[in-house]
């Protein structure tokens, strides 16, 4: 039998607005539970929602990035259900007319992923279930934190076109990067800024398989694991002739397995109806224009990276990391030699950062580019540059450090003087060289290097020595 993995995604992205979707509470701030709440996001009686314009702009920007159709008039609906984390007993979301429809996301591999829709909605409170495996039923206590209640969410729905777990993971990585370059979400899966639900099925000899929804994957690694596990589970079931259930499953990171969470209630009825507290959302030309302020592009970054690095895999890896890419770009723009910048940014800095427990955004780009300046002006050697990278990672000003530690190259005339001095001090060695023992040259280079405290470039020293010795 021939098996084929099929998956479609529903991705919730927390937008990086200053205030919440329908009230003015800040989205960021102290993590003290229930410290960023107001009567509106707590669902107090009498309160009304007001649409956050910035969330609309961000979603428009995402729609534009995916070449999607933007509905100039869209609507909000109420999705009705009871759950302790849902303060109003309904979620305000978009239903029949979402803000964005029919887009395409082009992956680096060239695969075109059709985006069915992107709509705006509000997040629910965060709930912690105590005394059960993260589920409401059977838990002893439910702790609710409404700081998350009302955070703007963009829900992105793809067509079911993914053909492998790896492809899903790669899409999510590239989507994360896209959101970060646009500046509309930090899209971290670990803390729920990006939540990916995957609808998986396995086709058997071209026949549609049983569809299962997988939730709670907190990293792209978890996506790879969960979907591979699920694929194998389905194949095993078909081989054994066991009937699979249409259900929602949760990924357990510990065991690397997916576990049944709940049966899909096919009759789930959310009794959607138009939100009477909001007018239709009209996207004016002005809003379309204003959305252009979110314009960073992962795909552009990838193109740059490919020019620099030549190889697709490396270019993709660099472009996926927005901060690393930004450092790379700054140094190249500054005139840094690609080879050196590659070594510094792709190998040395990542090691140094991890050793120092620091992140890319803690690096001072102007400090880094001053190292490039020194290098291109021939004032420092590679060895010194490496030392200065360390200093930069530790938060020191590399130029300052080089000056105070006498690490700056003394310059050509000084080098001549040092060479003359070394030759004068070692007449016997000069004699040996002149007799044809060129091996002693390295000794002389070493002496010069010692006198210049390593600031001279070995190549230049060698060159000057040979010139003087042949006179």
């Amino acid at each position: 039998m021939a098996y084929k993995f099929v998956a479609g995604l529903e991705i919730h992205v927390q937008l990086k607005t200053k205030s919440k979707m329908f009230c003015s509470c800040p989205t960021e701030g102290p993590d003290t539970p229930n410290s960023r709440v107001c009567p509106i996001c707590l669902g107090h009686p009498g309160t009304l929602p007001v649409i956050n314009k910035e969330a609309v702009l961000m979603t428009l920007a995402l729609g534009k990035a995916m070449n999607a159709r933007i509905n100039r008039v869209s609507k909000f609906h109420r999705k009705n259900y009871f759950y302790p984390d849902l303060p109003k007993g309904y979620q305000i979301t978009q239903y029949d007319v979402p803000l964005i429809e029919d887009g395409v996301f082009v992956m680096i591999t060239g695969k075109k992923v059709p985006i069915r829709r992107i709509h705006l909605e509000e997040d629910a409170a965060k709930s912690v279930h105590i005394g059960s495996s993260g589920r409401l039923t059977g838990s002893q206590q439910i702790l609710l934190d409404f700081n998350r209640s009302g955070i703007p969410l963009a829900e992105i729905v793809t067509e079911p076109v993914f053909e492998s777990p790896e492809e899903v993971a790669m899409f999510v990585e590239e989507l994360q990067a896209t959101l970060r370059y646009l500046g509309i979400s930090d899209a971290m899966m670990e803390n729920g800024q990006l939540r990916c639900d995957v609808n998986v099925s396995v086709e058997v000899d071209g026949k549609e398989g049983t569809r299962v929804e997988i939730k709670n994957m907190n990293s792209t690694k978890a996506i790879r694991q969960a979907l591979s596990f699920e694929y194998e589970r389905h194949v095993r079931a078909y081989e054994a002739g066991v009937q699979l259930q249409v259900e929602t499953r949760t990924f357990d990171e510990q065991s690397g397995e997916t576990k049944a969470m709940r049966r899909k209630e096919t009759s789930e009825d959310y009794r959607y109806f138009p939100e009477p507290d909001l007018l239709e959302l009209h996207v004016t030309d002005e809003l379309m224009e204003e959305a252009n302020k979110y314009n960073g592009s992962f795909h552009e970054a990838y193109k740059d990276a490919l020019t620099w690095l030549g190889r697709e895999k490396e270019a993709r890896a660099l472009a996926l990391n927005k901060e690393q890419f930004s450092v790379f770009k700054a140094l190249v723009t500054k005139g840094g030699d690609i080879k050196y910048v590659s070594r510094a940014v792709l190998i040395e800095l990542p090691n140094m950062l991890s050793e120092e427990g620091k992140s890319w955004d803690q690096l001072n780009e102007s400090h880094l580019s001053s190292i490039i300046d020194l290098l291109t002006q021939g004032k420092i050697t590679m060895a010194v540059a490496r030392e200065l990278l360390w200093q930069t990672v530790r938060g020191n000003d590399p130029l300052e450090y080089a000056r105070s530690h006498g690490l700056l190259n003394a310059g050509a005339t000084d080098l001549e003087a040092v060479v003359a001095d070394v030759l004068a001090k070692n007449p016997d060695v000069v004699e040996k060289y002149k007799k044809g023992n060129t091996n002693v040259l390295s000794f002389l280079v070493g002496q010069v290097m010692k006198q210049t405290k390593g600031t001279a470039k070995p190549d230049a020293v060698r060159e000057v020595l040979i010139k003087r010795l042949s006179e």
Binding site: H44, P45, G46, I51, N80, G89, F273, D277, L279
Partner: protein, 461 residues
């Protein structure tokens, strides 16, 4: 005494705001029997605020409602005061914020006397559905004051406040105004912010004003009108004309009403009222063919929205909490605190929105609503304003109407204005014995000032 007269007499030194408040406090003693209020602010506080109003006046400061005692229906939030909505489920709820209308009243110098009784969550036409007992009609304490804003109507009718706020989803301001012989105004949808009004049916709810006369209602409306950034559905309405320049010439009398079963006494007083009007204005018959069906549409749309609006009362975050073993049990127990009428409407609304029924009920009702709007637009091509009785019946004895559908019929004349987003006002049309009959005027949307000015001009004559 009109509020305008109070200011004139205050200016001449013939009275003080403290004397007005003393009078109000005297009248408030009647509340022992009437039960118009669910919460009354302490008299010392009220007197202190009246004193401050006097002091400010003496300093030359003039505010549009300075020192005027107002009552607030107990489904409108006043920061720090209870807001029970007449329901057990919010028995212990204290509002953490001011409704926009309350903010505006405070800024205008009004003194909030207390929170008034209502049918639970404004669902009812008699104020008998309050979890805390009915309100009595000040004109005859055996009778209901109407509802759902019966407490606010009784407060103004008994002089316990000069103005009162109510909410009108299907007639809950106009009908009790008619039952207590005062003026009740429901503005165009969006003319007054709903922020802080506990929602019953969001697309129909409007905060309305009770007053002893139309000039006072006009003054109150002037203070409360305006777009509010906290209510996306609110809107600015054009100001004017003055009462003397309302420009109303042709008044529409609705053809279909003759068949709708007016009580004979109501019909007699109403006919006399029309005859008086006919001396000044041209009465023209207009047709609103879907008037009666509007009642049916209303009883799908309003409960549907209510079923969602009332979902938040789960006993988790505020209001009455219950001891329960599981979340679902807590939800069930907390929500069993709702009264029968509220439960009935939540069930009806949930049903109307359910898959398989939504098309035939909710969607069809919304379509009917569009028809109604169209028919009003057509009618207003030939007339400036439309007149009808406010209610088909007279105030009835407490406990006399037990069939919910009979009760729903009280709103037969008031509901269409809510469905069509139109401004409407009930004014006293006359008496039969000691019982008042109200007449309702309906104007095109956003022509609230015209409506109020016209109604005020009737009083002048």
């Amino acid at each position: 005494m009109k509020i305008g007269d109070i200011f004139e007499r205050r200016q001449r030194g013939e009275l003080t705001f403290q004397s007005i408040m003393e009078l109000t406090l005297n009248n408030l003693e009647k509340d022992e029997l009437l039960h118009a209020f669910l919460y009354k602010r302490p008299p010392e506080e009220l007197m202190k605020e009246a004193q401050q109003a006097d002091a400010l006046w003496d300093q030359g400061i003039r505010k549009p409602l300075q020192g005027i005692p107002v009552a607030i229906k107990d489904n409108i939030c006043v920061e720090g005061l209870p807001c029970t909505c007449g329901s057990k489920i919010l028995e212990n709820y204290v509002a953490p914020y001011d409704a926009t209308v309350v903010k505006k009243l405070k800024e205008a110098g009004a003194i909030i006397v207390g929170k008034t009784n209502l049918d639970e969550f404004a669902m009812g036409s008699s104020t008998e559905n309050s979890a805390f007992g009915p309100t009595r009609n000040p004109l005859d304490t055996n009778l209901v004051p109407g509802g759902s804003s019966g407490g606010s109507a009784a407060a103004v009718a008994a002089g316990m406040s000069l103005l009162a706020l109510g909410s009108d989803t299907g007639g809950s301001v106009r009908q009790p105004a008619a039952f207590t012989g005062i003026v009740g105004f429901k503005p165009s949808y969006g003319a007054i912010s709903r922020y802080g009004l506990v929602a019953f049916a969001s697309s129909l709810d409007q905060i309305g004003i009770f007053a002893a006369n139309t000039m006072d209602a006009l003054l109150g409306a002037f203070v409360l009108f305006g777009k509010d950034p906290m209510d996306s559905t609110s809107t600015e309405i054009p100001i004017g004309p003055e009462p003397s320049q309302h420009n109303v010439r042709r008044i529409g009398v609705i053809k279909e009403l003759s068949s709708l079963g007016l009580q004979p006494d109501v019909e007699r007083v109403y006919t006399q009222f029309l005859n008086t009007l006919a001396k000044q204005y041209e009465l023209v018959e207009v047709s609103i063919p879907h008037w009666e069906e509007a009642l049916a549409a209303y009883y799908f749309v309003a409960p549907a929205e209510a079923s969602a609006n009332l979902a938040r009362y789960d006993g988790v975050r505020y209001g009455s909490t219950v001891e329960a073993n599981t979340y679902w049990q807590s939800v069930r127990m907390a929500r069993s605190l709702f009264g029968d009428e509220v439960k009935r409407r939540i069930l009806l609304g949930t049903f109307a929105l359910s898959a398989g029924y939504k098309d035939a009920m909710y969607d069809k009702a919304q379509a009917l609503r569009q028809w109604l709007i169209y028919e009003f637009n057509e009618a207003f091509r030939t007339v400036d304003i439309i007149v009808s009785p406010t209610t088909p019946n007279l105030p009835f004895p407490i406990g006399a109407v037990s069939d919910p559908v009979e009760m729903y019929k009280c709103d037969l004349f008031t509901i269409p204005a809510n469905l069509a987003y139109l401004p409407a006002i009930s004014v006293p049309a006359g008496f039969t014995g000691n019982l008042p009959v109200g007449a309702q005027f309906i104007a095109p949307r956003m022509q609230d000032y015209k409506l109020l000015s016209f109604a005020a001009s009737l009083e002048v004559r």
